[in-house]
Amino acid sequence: MLSAAMITAHLAGTEATVEAETAELRPVVRAVVACVLRERPDSADVEDCTSEAMKRALESSTKARGPLRPWVLGIARHVALDTLRARQRQRARTAQLPEEAPSSTTAVVDRLVDPAAPVDEQMELAERAARVRRVLATLPEGPRKALELFHMEGLAYQEIAKRLGVPLGTVATWVNRGRRAMAEALEDDVQDARRGGRS
């Protein structure tokens, strides 16, 4: 039978594991923050946002559902975007000008992580899924399979290489090219849909 001491030890062990895993992500968190803020990684703002993101991630690690990595990176992105918006508001107030329109990159990133609640979620989901399927179908077989195995089945690069019977370098190349092609095609699809909607 489990004793209270064993449960406490287990929880402490789990917490320590999460803490260690989160700490391992610090360089990537810093990179994400620097990318969103478009600042040097050693700047004070990047350092502050990174620390804030890590703090929030650790404080609410029990709320994390699913894998830790995307969840922590999502927090990092969120914190950086909040800082960016606060900075834009401050700039607009100081200059007595209307708020600066977000850059195209920021708009894209906003759309990715904080999608507005759709009017009809089912329809929205169906449309998005159809769009992603359409784009996936345009990719060559290798990159498409590599992306599906990595993102949908959760396999590591080495496991994908074994599964597909190709060298590790090929998998890394397929993931890199496939992902870029997919992001570009998805963005084109969004632009086409907008143009179609306007005409």
Binding site: C35, L112, E153, N176, A183
Partner: protein, 175 residues
Amino acid sequence: MSHPKSSGAPPAETLPEELIWAEGGHASDIALTALGDGQAAILPASVLTHVQGCPTCTQHLGHAALLSLHVARELGTVAAHDHAVATTRRPLPRLAIAIGLAVALLALLPSVKDLGSISTTYTHAATLARVLRAVAQAALSPSPLGLVLTYGTAAALVVAGLVVVKLLPRKEVSS
């Protein structure tokens, strides 16, 4: 959607050197993508050290990580949609329907055996209906027989009523 494993068993192999470094001594896109995906185990330590100290590579790493997040979310919609469709449009329970029909047919068998008695009952009912129709026609017809039948039946009903009243015990009423 599951998530790729970022660490665990020691790596059996790492990425070939020519894929790791780009011009200018920076980490290649492939290496940064792998790092953004949490695949540090397939990269030599020298890449990690370089990226941590290089602002350009750090920026690119951030971009790669965000791109990975973006594509993961987009692919997640496919899985979410498949799941939603599977839960809303469940397949027709053909086996259950077939079993239900078979049971219903078995339950019908005794009735099939009794089909003969059903036809007899129907014949009797039809004969009775014919008799009643004939009586009704006779009663409604303007012939003297119809009049006799109508008044005769009425008189018989009155007599029957009187007989019943006479035969029933009288109820005593106290003042």
